[in-house]
């Protein structure tokens, strides 16, 4: 895969770091010819072949590529499964005649893979074990009835046995499969364990081993083509209702709920219009979802008509089946989440917010505003300590006629073009900045907060910053700000 994206001439290898040494993970034909092998340390490989070019292996990418290849290989057989991390196994029994015989089928496979730039080995055999062994040792086709002869010449390590067993067999002079085929089984099993006998039986077909492909992840998408183009909003909504019914049934079968949905409308002129909606919580109720699409569908330009609709749930979340009509509490919850969906789809889900307590003494950071759609209400802890204002705003500087005495709040000041005079003051409450966050607003250092009741009525939350450096020496640290308003 790596070579395909960025071709390299000559010997090439992918390396994988295990422990603190690099090993070869995969080598190409040219490198194989130069004597490089899988699992060889990179240092040795460089000694053998100094001009080898290497790249680090991307295991996740390889797995994804193999997964894609597995889907493609479905064209040859109904059942294709992954075989280890680098192989595919397909059950082609009864399929080969569709491609003109086993040899033609294998040639077709190789031709297509070559065209795609993939180097592959393949084998067709009567059992899964034999095909596995042959594909890794040259490839080819073993005709029916010649299974024992076909794999007899292969080394015993081709039998998917662990290396210790293979070493043990080699030590007693049993190097080829044909050597152990004729031996009595009981002593073999006693000496090398039942694993060897099992693999041998699987290779010669005494023990069945079916191909079991893993289940495809469900795809939540449905579509509908129309014989005649439609343009009316009611028609599109009717089509959407049918699609939604199918999609929601599909979602229910997999116990999933949609979180984000996309409706694509293909127009006659080839253009595609898209309507996306978000949902306040996982949902699969067709009627309630259709209501959310209403506004988006109104805005779509139908052009000369729409001839195909495709609806997909792009983001889904697990959703357990629920009791229908569980009671007024559940109905109110449903109605509220419908409201949040409606509001979020027009205003944006980041504008439908909820306040959650946070663990900080800094007033601006003592709560989080989180989207309602992605959170649950949290009980705020009981109120303790000095009172806090109900309304908070960014600090606004006060204009003072004369600087107050140190340690005292100003007696008269102007705030928002109102002349106010202090009637009563409570404080100071000293809040120090959180040094582990670099907050530009708190660079002025400590703040002394005061609750000020004014003669004129407003009750304000003022602070001043004793550590800050003023412009002039005289009123240094005597800048006062208002940051909140009490009820």
């Amino acid at each position: 895969m790596s070579l395909r994206r960025c071709p390299v001439e000559g010997a090439f290898a992918l390396t994988l770091r295990s422990g603190n040494a690099d090993h070869l993970h995969c080598v190409n034909e040219a490198a194989l010819a130069r004597g490089l092998r899988r699992g060889m340390p990179l240092a040795d490989a460089r000694a053998v072949c100094p001009d080898v070019s290497t790249r680090p292996a991307d295991l996740a990418g390889e797995a994804a590529a193999l997964f894609a290849l597995r889907r493609w290989a479905g064209r040859y057989a109904p059942m294709v499964a992954r075989d280890g991390s680098e192989g595919l196994i397909a059950d082609v029994s009864g399929v080969a005649h569709l491609f003109g015989g086993e040899a033609d089928m294998r040639a077709d496979l190789h031709a297509r893979l070559d065209r795609a730039g993939l180097a592959a080995h393949s084998a067709i055999a009567g059992t899964r074990g034999a095909a596995h062994a042959l594909a890794r040792h040259g490839g080819g086709i073993i005709a029916d009835g010649t299974l024992a002869a076909g794999i007899g010449r292969l080394p015993v390590s081709a039998l998917r046995i662990d290396p210790e067993t293979a070493d043990g067999l080699a030590r007693v002079g049993l190097t080829r499969i044909s050597d152990i085929l004729g031996l009595p089984r009981a002593p073999l099993s006693r000496r090398f364990g039942p694993g060897l006998i099992l693999r041998l039986d699987q290779a010669i077909g005494v023990q069945p081993e079916p191909v079991s492909p893993e289940a495809e992840p469900p795809h939540f998408g449905v579509r509908m083509s129309l014989p005649e183009a439609i343009g009316l909003q009611a028609d599109v909504m009717a089509g959407l209702d049918r699609l939604l019914e199918r999609l929601c049934a599909h979602l229910a079968r997999h116990r999933q709920g949609a979180r984000r949905m996309k409706l694509e409308l293909r127009r006659v002129d080839g253009e595609t219009a898209q309507v996306s909606i978000g949902l306040a919580r996982p949902m699969r109720d067709p009627v309630r979802i259709a209501a959310l699409f209403q506004k988006g569908v109104e805005e779509v330009d139908a052009g000369f008509g729409i001839d195909a609709l495709r609806l997909s749930a792009t983001v889904t979340e697990p959703m357990a089946p629920e009791q229908i009509g569980a009671g007024p509490a559940s109905r109110a919850e449903d109605a509220l989440s419908d409201l949040v969906s409606r509001l979020g789809n027009r205003l944006g889900f980041d504008r439908v917010l909820r306040l959650q307590p946070a663990d900080s003494l800094i007033p601006e950071r003592s709560f989080l505003t989180v989207p309602v759609a992605y959170s649950t209400p949290v009980q705020s802890p009981a109120r303790r300590g000095p009172p806090r204002p109900a309304i908070l705003f960014p600090p606004e500087p006060l204009s003072l006629a004369s600087p107050p005495r140190p340690g005292h709040p100003p007696a008269r000041f102007r705030w928002r073009r109102m002349a106010l005079s202090t009637l009563r003051a409570a404080g100071p409450e000293r809040i120090s900045p959180e040094w582990w966050f670099d907050d530009p607003a708190w660079r002025s250092g400590l703040r002394d907060y005061w609750r000020i009741e004014t003669q004129e009525g407003p009750r304000l939350w003022l602070f001043h910053t004793p550590q800050s450096q003023g412009w002039q020496g005289a009123d240094r640290g005597q800048t006062w700000y208002a940051q909140g308003e009490f009820a």
Binding site: D338, L339, R351, L355, F367, S380, A390, G484
Partner: protein
């Protein structure tokens, strides 16, 4: 639409807003008035402030138990704001809607909101600025914080428009933490000079 013209019993407290209607409050104490009213309604509270307004509710300063009921909407334009007010008023599960429109609502807009409030059985309160009242509103309150003796937080609330009742003027002592409040009795004007005893 048919209206129930029968005489309804007078609410127990003068500060109980007529339910399923939209009201207005102005003055510097309007947010305190909104908090006071929100405490007297059950269910989720939706507070709609325009995106550019810097004043936001502070969770630790809100009355106990109100933070988890509060949903804050910050729509971007005037149209979105009025749309979201109407939409939330029309939704049944919402208990109380507070909105801060940035300009006066027209009669049509105000009337639509009244219809939405009736349809959704929800009460709403618009926090308006000086002289920006809407003719369709049910009541209009003018709220100012007032200075008072120590350990009191006085609010001067006057009702300047009332479609189904009389106006009034009250000074109450409400500490901003619970629904309980204390009506401050008015100091009587002495009309005649005090007679000299004896």
């Amino acid at each position: 639409m048919l209206h129930d013209l029968r005489k309804k019993p007078e609410p127990a407290s003068p500060f109980t807003l007529a339910s399923h209607r939209v009201h207005e409050a102005g003055g510097r104490g309007r947010r305190a008035f909104a908090l006071f009213q929100a405490l007297r309604h059950a269910g989720p509270i939706v507070w709609i402030v325009p995106d550019h307004i810097p004043e936001r509710p502070l969770l630790s300063g809100l009355p106990q138990g109100m933070g988890e009921r509060l949903i804050l909407l910050t729509p971007k334009g005037r149209t979105d704001l009025i749309w979201s007010v109407e939409e939330t008023l029309r939704a049944a599960p919402v208990g109380f809607v507070v909105a801060e429109p940035q300009s006066a609502l027209t009669l049509t807009e105000g009337r639509r909101l009244q219809l939405a409030a009736e349809a959704g059985q929800t009460t709403g309160l618009m926090l308006i600025r000086e002289g920006e009242g809407c003719p369709a509103s049910e009541t209009r309150w003018n709220c100012e914080p007032a200075a008072g003796p120590s350990d009191s937080t006085l609010q001067r609330w006057s009702l300047s428009k009332n479609k189904k009742g009389t106006n009034g003027d009250w000074v109450i002592d409400w500490n901003g933490a619970s629904a309980a409040f204390h009506m401050v009795s008015e100091a009587g004007e002495r009309c005649e000079p005090q007679t000299v005893p004896g």
